[in-house]
Amino acid sequence: MSQGSITVKQAGPLALIQDAGRFGVGHLGVTQSGAADWISYNWANWLLGNPTNSAALEIVMGGNLTLEASSNVCLALTGADLDARIDGEPLAPNACFTLKAGQCLTFRQPHAGLRAYLAFPGGLQAPEILGSRACTVREMIGGLHENGKPLQAGDQLSWQGDTPSPRRLPDNASLPMPQKRCQLPLVLGSQVAHFAGRSLYQAFNQPWTVDQRADRMGIRLTGHALNSKLEGVISEGIPLGAVQIPPDGQPIVLMNDRQTIGGYPRIGALTPSACALLSQCLPSTEVWLRPVSATQAQVTHRRQLAVWE
């Protein structure tokens, strides 16, 4: 297959170039960024036989994002069902496919999940900033034009390789997709000792609703308020998935584009897999928090990573 390009004919609300994220720069005030649903992202690259950490597209909502190929290209699509179509024909999810020269790939609207991942042969070409191609809108870092802007109409996408070795998704593969009574494992910690016993009971024994106020920085959950005895804490480093409780008692889960330091009390942090699942939840989805030990969470995490090795 010859090296070609893909043109963005129409931009949706938010499509970002993402990789695994920007690490080792938190002390500079630079956020982690990277694919929010890192599991679907990794599957997309795996399907094409790409190296891990290859840059792919994170497509949020769809919103008629339209991509036109200049020549035949083999791509892989995973994650949310955004009603993807090639020239109007529905596209099977979680698989490789060929987009032929002149064909248009369109993402219409979410049917299940929120973020789809589109992988390219060898990974997308994009400038590397601080060791990553991840695009962070808030920090004006990364992206095709090095200014943190999402894809825009007229943008040209090109990729690194030209001979992908497509694979099929294994039958036992599981990708994050919100179901009824979605479970989000949480490692207790940080200021958890400063929360009343009743609040801790409430945290794990009520359904939380994913709020409209949700983006790559943080996702707010609403339910019966949790109360800590602390008004605030002296700002400290915040890990991925941190569940912070502002004075109104409604948790905010801090995601990939979070501020590197913050000053609200926290009850702990969701596991990376829970963050991936939460990032696929549309507003008004019901979720349940479930305590898990750090050790157990790491066992599960290592098992997940081993799948792609």
Partner: protein, 234 residues
């Protein structure tokens, strides 16, 4: 200094050394930073120092929770404060003017000072950099003289120009890039903090000192400063 290790996440630990903000913390924080970087080596993903804590994000493929906790405890066992002379002093030229620093009159009035006296006081102190965060290259600095301390604006601005120098309570900072913000803005610098940060070489780091110098509009513009009044950007 009282060392505590807390679980922050599946693969992150918080090292808590202090319970209150103090400039003297930084010698300990920086010593812990060096010791932890050395101890964790390749297993370290990120290490984020702040006013009283350090967040260790380690690679749980390389070391497990129990080992990471033991490693951190061992690394910090005989901690001694770092030589504070190691921190660099950075002089930041600032054009203090109401057009780019709309809160100059209010902050001066609150403190019972003239605007000139306020500028002299803001420049007359070497501020300690406590932490970088909020935005790439954004340094939280202090402590501002108690009588200059001013609470954040009731309604934050939607857009604060890059280079804006502000005060919030007893802290002072420079906005590296155009962002929302609720600090009291006193002036503007032409020093391109964001450009340094995005290259991975921030101008200042935790433990460094910053001294502000008052310059004229002509000097500010000669240094490449953008003199567009702040409110026009709102």
């Amino acid at each position: 200094m009282k060392l505590r290790l807390e679980t922050a996440a599946m693969d992150a630990l918080t090292v808590r050394l202090f319970d209150a903000i103090d400039e003297s913390n930084m010698a300990w924080i920086m010593a812990a930073d060096t010791a932890l970087r050395h101890a964790f080596g390749d297993a370290l993903i990120d290490l984020v120092p702040s006013y009283t804590t350090l967040l260790i994000h380690y690679d749980c493929r390389v070391i497990a929770f129990v080992e990471a906790t033991a490693l951190a405890r061992e690394a910090l066992k005989d901690l001694q404060p770092a030589d504070t002379q190691n921190g660099q002093l950075h002089e930041i030229p600032v054009w203090y003017d109401e057009s780019v620093g709309p809160e100059l009159p209010q902050v001066a009035k609150r403190a019972g000072l003239s605007v000139e006296q306020l500028i002299e006081r803001h420049c007359g102190h070497d501020y300690c950099v406590f932490a970088l965060g909020f935005a790439p290259g954004y340094g939280f600095m202090g402590l501002v003289d108690e009588d200059l301390a001013t609470p954040r604006l009731k309604t934050p601005r939607r857009r604060v120009a890059a280079g804006s120098v502000g005060i919030a309570d007893r802290q002072t900072a420079i906005y590296p890039l155009l962002s929302p913000g609720g600090w009291n803005i006193l002036g503007r610098t032409a020093v391109p903090l964001f450009e340094y940060a995005r290259r991975g070489e921030p101008l200042f780091r935790p433990g460094d000192k910053v001294r502000f110098m008052s310059i004229s509009k002509a000097e500010f513009e000669a240094a490449g400063g953008d003199a567009t009044p702040l409110e026009e950007r709102a």
